[in-house]
């Protein structure tokens, strides 16, 4: 466990006292096995109690501590100090409004998540007393990957399209819709399709793939979006070129 000193350059902004954001540099003695979050906690406890940021689990599952680290969207609890030089710059997540310091507003994402109906709309009504639905391991595998999203929003911070068109539903919300659409127990695709096949939906995606690159849980939202595009295109053909296929 070696120790080294890093210069942690943190974007600071307090709407009550600052007219614009500024950088503040802290000299932090780090253990080599630390993550950037440990360095921030060191600052909070020892150097500057006024620094604000969100965190909780310290194991990359609660999704609280997304931020830009040397310009890349990362979870601070999974950004290892040993992977960086002695200069580390920390900024709030790109593409979201800053509330204060490293805290950004989450509201836009939450609203988008809610609007894709991210819950099971059962294909068939079955009371709880009748027991669990059957679902084979192969059926589970079809959507399991998309359930792993921790809502950390790093994919929105990486998405060039979300930066340009804030109305875009974005990677995580569309992936979540796809997750339920692919669930063998679900029958709600038509309801979700109205939202995700809209102008602000999947067609805004320019398939850069940055979302999948930054996803800390390997959800592969880009893959989900591509599948949604294919399925939506097939819908269009069915509707316009093969009207007899319509339900």
């Amino acid at each position: 466990m070696s120790e080294r000193q890093i210069q942690l350059e943190v974007l600071r902004y307090n709407p009550e006292t600052d007219s614009e954001p500024r950088y503040q540099t802290y000299s932090v003695p780090c253990m080599n096995e630390w993550v950037v979050l440990d360095a921030l906690n060191y600052v909070k406890d020892n150097l500057d109690p006024t620094l604000s940021y969100r965190w909780s689990c310290h194991m990359a599952v609660c999704g609280s501590c997304g931020m830009m680290i040397n310009g890349e969207p990362k979870l601070a609890c999974k950004a290892f100090i040993h992977e960086y030089t002695d200069q580390v710059r920390v900024e709030p997540m790109a593409n979201f409004p800053i509330e204060r310091d490293l805290v950004t507003s989450v509201e836009d994402f939450i609203a988008k998540l809610a609007c894709v109906k991210p819950y099971l709309i059962p294909k068939s009504d079955q009371p709880v007393s009748a027991g669990a639905f059957q679902q084979s391991p192969a059926e589970l595998k079809k959507f399991k990957q998309y359930t792993l999203c921790i809502n950390c929003m790093l994919c929105y911070a990486a998405c060039p399209q979300y930066g340009l068109v804030p109305e875009f539903l974005g990677p995580a919300a569309i992936s979540m819709a796809h997750r339920y659409n692919q669930d063998s127990r679900d029958g709600g695709r038509d309801q979700r399709q109205e939202v995700i096949a809209s102008d602000e939906g999947v067609w805004e995606c320019s398939f850069v793939g940055a979302c999948s690159e930054v996803c800390p849980k390997h959800v592969d939202p880009a893959g989900a979006l591509q599948q949604v595009k294919v399925a939506s295109t097939l819908d269009w053909y069915k509707e316009h070129l093969m009207p007899w296929m319509k339900k």
């Binding site: 500057d48 310290h58 599952v61 679902q135």
Partner: protein
């Protein structure tokens, strides 16, 4: 101050709070529900639970077996009427989650799969790989979005309950984003605020687990029950306390000491079982208290492995093979590689016991009701008690579902009982007092104490004196020290005087909660002169069923240590007996 009028306010939006909110919305769409949490729901610590949730579903299992495992696992401190209710509701709740889309792992035939856990006679843990709590939390959160009557107040920190005319009628909460205090007037309040493991330095608990919900009720005069029972999980990563689920052992992982000996056989959990053939309720499938205690003895004997992060034993999963580890324990593998640089497919993982769960909490009865009319509680913050002196792994996720729903139903009954609300003026007076309290705290700048400094002293005190094994003298030291820290807390200084996302203020409030809860832990432990479950005394080594088959109740005092009282355990069918974890003998 803005007044928000609602029917039922819920404090905490983790598993229990969300389950309660959904139950309320389903029972009556006209009910106004305020779901108040200091973090966004999906950040709640339910997300970190890994192994699974217990519920009888397979034909070889039975309610009687789940009852026996739970009560025996709890060293007979569980209230048996509550356990009976719990085990009967458990399968319904887990099935309900399945209907809401929870991606439970499956058997080849498409039915829900179960895995073994420690202290279980039959395997009955439903699991979603090793991310069960995460999937439960997200399933509940996403399902809650269906109900327009659930109004969320994300990132609001509850500061005080409003208690007037003898019943709870709301609370005050600080909107973290603005720093403004809000008054919630409610006809009933449900607390689902989680545990307080953060009073210890080495814990699986996330930063949010600071006992705020417990302290909220405690300060309003509701007793905290059995707080001295703190569970150490046997397998934490040694450098940062990250949890490696009991599922590691459930799937067949084994524990070795430095000599390669399966040491659990030396502590009443043997004889040794063959590697790759785990036997239920034996060796590595013993209960958490016993397995953690065995580590302590191994350490005393010098049988542990020295690592840069202290003494460890080794958890070996290599024989499970890469395919099974990736299918059943993918998070565990990722955590070991990412945070310790060791791959469980290739090498044994050094681990040590880590503070994980508080069996104690807000005193509730079988209906999730506290002694204060109008106040209910569920989840880790509550003590029903089904967990007794040692919680069985995978009962807590089920508990937050069963009693989250129960709290909702009881709150509705309370609302329907037609108690009239007190006058606005009386409630507003209380709310203003709360606002003044927070305002005074914020203004402090001449103080001599720091938040980080006091927190460190508290954690060191708890770690040194209130660990796996305890003594009267250490506990007396801890009581004095925590009492002193509570006094010194009055002299903290806040550096941040602004209002938007003032996390300096949040940490000050959280430290206050932890100190209050820590004192209930230490005083309860000092006065419980016996060894039972997770409370082991080197000076009182035996269980005392004659005098202490009782729950401890701690009553808050603003400046003095809590007053203790005791309450008989409810026994319906199982008299205290011997806890036998040597199933392989038979």
């Amino acid at each position: 101050m803005e007044i928000i009028k609602t029917d039922i306010a819920i404090v905490g939006a983790g598993g229990a709070g969300l389950r309660a909110a959904i139950a309320l919305a389903e029972a009556d769409p006209k009910l106004r529900i305020a779901l108040i949490s200091k973090v966004y729901p999906m950040r709640s610590h339910t997300c970190a639970a890994e192994g699974g949730a217990a519920g009888v579903i397979k034909s070889d299992d039975s309610m009687a077996l789940h009852f026996g495992d739970t009560v025996g696992g709890g060293d007979w401190l569980s209230d048996q009427d509550a356990v009976e209710y719990f085990i009967h509701e458990a399968p319904k709740e887990l099935t309900q989650l399945e209907h809401w889309g929870c991606p439970w792992s499956r058997e080849p035939d498409g039915s829900v799969a179960v895995r073994p856990f420690g202290g279980m006679k039959i395997k009955r843990t439903w699991f979603a790989a090793d991310k069960s709590g995460f999937h439960i939390l997200h399933t509940l959160f996403q399902t809650s979005l269906k109900y327009p009557s659930i109004q969320r107040f994300d990132e609001y920190y509850a500061t005080d309950l409003l208690v007037e005319d003898g019943h709870c009628q709301g609370l005050t909460a600080l909107e973290i984003r603005s720093g403004q205090m809000k008054q919630f007037q409610a006809r009933a309040v449900i607390i689902a605020g989680g545990g307080g493991g953060r009073m210890f330095p080495f814990t699986t608990n996330g930063a949010v687990k600071t006992g705020d919900g417990m302290a909220l009720a405690y300060r309003a005069g509701v007793p905290l029950k059995d707080m001295e029972f703190v569970q150490y999980h046997p397998t934490g990563l040694p450098n940062n306390g990250i949890l490696l689920t009991e599922g590691c052992r459930g799937e067949g992982g084994v524990l070795f000491n430095k000599d390669g000996r399966r040491y659990l056989q030396d502590y009443g959990m043997g004889p040794e079982t063959p590697i790759g053939q785990p036997v239920l309720k034996t060796m590595e499938l013993g209960p958490r208290d016993r397995v953690s205690q065995a580590f302590w003895h191994e350490q005393k004997k010098g049988n542990t492995v020295s690592t840069p992060w202290g003494d460890c034993v080794l958890l070996d999963m290599r024989h499970l093979g890469e395919k099974k580890i990736d299918e059943r324990l993918p998070l565990v593998r990722d955590l070991c590689i990412s945070y310790l640089g060791k791959d469980p497919v290739k090498e044994p993982i050094p681990i040590r016991p880590v503070v994980h769960y508080m069996m104690g909490g807000i005193h509730t009865n079988i209906k999730a009701a506290t002694p204060l009319p109008g106040l209910f509680a569920a989840g880790e913050c509550a003590c029903v008690s089904i967990n007794g002196a040692n919680r069985l792994g995978s009962n807590s996720l089920t508990e937050l579902l069963v009693f989250g729903k129960r709290a909702a139903l009881s709150a509705i009954e309370h609302v329907q009982s037609g108690l009239s609300a007190s006058k606005d003026a009386a409630l507003t007076g209380q709310a203003q007092a709360s606002e003044t309290r927070i305002g005074t705290l914020m203004k402090k700048s001449a103080g001599t104490e720091t938040i980080a400094g006091l927190r460190k002293e508290m954690m060191e005190t708890m770690e040194t004196n209130v660990g796996i094994y305890r003594t009267g003298s250490e506990l007396a030291t801890a009581c004095d020290k925590i009492s002193e820290l509570r006094q010194r807390y009055a002299h903290i200084a806040l550096h941040d005087k602004t209002h938007v996302y003032n996390t300096d203020l949040m940490q000050a409030l959280e430290l206050g909660s932890m100190l209050d809860c820590a004192e209930a832990v230490t005083v309860g432990a000092r006065d419980r002169k016996e060894s039972r479950g997770a409370h082991q005394r080197l000076d009182f080594t035996e269980r005392d069923d004659v005098n202490l088959l009782k729950h401890t109740l701690a009553y808050y005092h603003p400046t003095e240590p809590p007053r203790l009282d005791y309450l008989d355990v409810v026994i319906t069918q199982s008299q205290p007996g011997v806890r036998d974890y040597s199933g392989a003998k038979k």
